[in-house]
Symmetry: C2
């Protein structure tokens, strides 16, 4: 297994991109990444997308996008693990390069969610839950995460304000990200006063419905200089784990075991401890999710995720900045693209290209991408090469 | 890259499996494969499925099936390339074992197609075509393959009877396969007299709507003896290629370029010529497809696919037996499972376990799995180890 570097990144603005089709936005992101990497061809590609069948009536995405990118007949594989599809696309490409099978691999993610009604989007997203035991009975993701939040508040004394503070922090970060969908400050009072979705979660606790695409280019670490003079970033670890997709089958619904297992593997692979990570992009599909993820990553103790947010530990100027991009909450959450957009932010920070939101210390960053209510998780650790 | 062997196979009967859910049938096939291999755990798994979102309202399939199989938190990846999803699952698992990352990998395929109406199934399948330029305008797969058939007849003089002969041959084979959905003989007259679907294709030129699952277990070739005493089968080659998914964008719609490219790569990887292959399972979703595939594989010259079928070249007792399992036509076509079911047949033949349809000479077999009207193709070559 050889070392693998990321040499190019690209992404579209995230938002309601009604003027562009799925294939358009994917190719925009892919061409930007190829341009950034200095390559005009790829050996192979992976596309993460959750459910283009339900959103735009299109499967067979790998071939369609390889062709539209002018790269057919290269192998093109679509991977899916609900909202972790993007992270999984990176992991699949990572292993293709690490194994020596290919040199230049594009890993992209895309979702076009605003071409259907809100009700249709909610149905489509609920297919990431257990259809037979959850979705069929009417529960959708706000309801599932509301149960997690309620349990976390009951078990650990997490406060309503702690949840709101996640949104406040991530919107403050997203304000500085030109690609973000909702570039606006919000306050704790605004979050708590916003319309109820599923108690205790309000609309400002929820990530939005978004169109968007993101892409990165991988190559063997020892060939970076052939392509680019920019600082290259190494993939120090890539790990993936699963859990029950239905909440009721878990011992403790406040504990995201797939994230914990994937993180433990990733730390081992990179030879680091949680305290060696300078910053992270994590899957804040709902405010409570970020709190539980901090705990599963071992960044804070069990039950201390709310306190960590309240105290400023995860703020941009805190000890462990989380979601400097704005996260899913402010940047937007085109589900299949999210995992790659996280990588876009980590690479931007490691290269010192994050503009107004650039961190002072950014040598090693982590990205955690999650499917459903934690039925799958993919964790990557990136370092300046 | 190390050699990879298949040490276990399993599949459900193919048909209208109304009493069992998707997770049930997948686990039946997976447990059969694990039992056949002599393993009680796996390191990782891949699932090929085309569109469970549209068929049963369920995405996030990797995690759901890993859990139901009792194997969570192992990594579980769903891959999709329309009807080539099963072949792609095998290829993904092959590279995971070849790279040294994992030892025991399960590659499965599944589709549950009969829980929706025929019209809904037709819509779901049409998402493998180009939605914007084909499906949206009303053309579905029988229509697309009918255009290919018409062009082939015009260009090469292929006869209506030649198409029918593919169905006659494959049903004769399927009659001997206990897993096949339609175990019945058909005659040329019956095919030509059956109800018209899209001229020149009749209902007996089309593969059916099917529920089913299939799975295989991979391990490094040098570890086979630790698990099983059965004859092991080596994956001598694995190749994948793409093409435009829309027919109108191709130079010649009778030429399946993704199959030709993937086959050329596979022959090179295995170090063999087309004439070194003893038998093949190919993607006969429509009768014309088998004819075009024979040509793209180099088994016959361009334009000679119809004649090859008529002459008995591809019959079970012919020089190059094709679709001894009954093919998609008679065995059934649960789209995501098909690519793995092809591997099930090739392994059964290579092990000498194919019962009444066992071939005399079966040392090296090929499996060709195709997405849509050829927008993607995956080709594997298997040999007795």
């Amino acid at each position: 297994m050889r070392d693998v570097a990321i040499i190019g990144i690209g992404m579209t603005d995230f938002g309601e991109l009604w003027a562009d089709s799925l294939r358009d936005i994917f190719v925009m992101a892919a061409l930007e990444a190829m341009g950034d990497a200095g390559v005009d061809h790829i050996d192979s590609m992976y596309v993460g997308s959750m459910t283009p069948g339900l959103f735009i009536g299109q499967e067979h995405l790998g071939s369609m996008l390889a062709d539209y990118l002018g790269q057919a007949p290269v192998p093109a594989t679509r991977v899916e693990s609900a909202c972790a599809s993007g992270g999984l696309a990176l992991r699949s490409g990572f292993f293709e390069v690490a194994s020596g099978m290919s040199d230049i691999v594009l890993c992209g993610g895309v979702e076009k969610m605003t071409d259907v009604s809100g009700a249709q989007a909610t149905y489509a997203l609920a297919t990431a839950a257990d259809q037979d035991y959850e979705a069929f009975h009417g529960v959708t993701f706000p309801g599932l995460y509301a149960m997690i939040a309620t349990a976390h508040m009951h078990k650990y004394g997490t406060k309503r304000e702690d949840l709101a503070q996640v949104a406040v922090k991530n919107h403050a970060n997203g304000l500085l990200n030109p690609h973000a969908q909702y570039r606006m400050k919000v306050t704790v009072d605004q979050v708590i006063g916003s319309v109820k979705v599923a108690d205790p979660l309000n609309i400002l606790d929820c990530s939005p419905i978004t169109d968007g695409a993101a892409a990165v280019i991988l190559c063997p670490a020892d060939k970076v200089k052939q392509f680019t003079k920019k600082p290259a970033v190494k993939i120090a670890a890539s790990a993936h784990a699963t859990d029950t997709i239905a909440l009721h089958q878990r011992k403790d619904i406040t504990w995201l075991n797939s994230t914990a297992v994937a993180a433990a593997k990733a730390y081992e692979m990179a030879g680091v401890k949680p305290t060696d990570i300078d910053f992270a992009e994590v899957h804040d599909c709902f405010t409570i999710a970020e709190i539980c993820v901090l705990e599963a990553l071992g960044a804070v103790e069990k039950g201390k995720g709310g306190e960590a947010t309240r105290s400023g530990f995860t703020a941009r100027d805190g000890k462990f900045p989380v979601n400097t991009s704005g996260g899913l909450k402010s940047k937007g959450h085109p589900v299949g693209a999210t995992g790659i957009a996280q990588i876009h932010e980590v690479v931007s920070q490691l290269r010192g290209e994050a503009g107004e939101r650039q961190l002072g210390k950014a040598k090693r960053g982590l990205a955690q991408n999650m499917g459903g209510s934690g039925g799958s998780a993919v964790v990557h650790i990136l370092e300046v090469l």
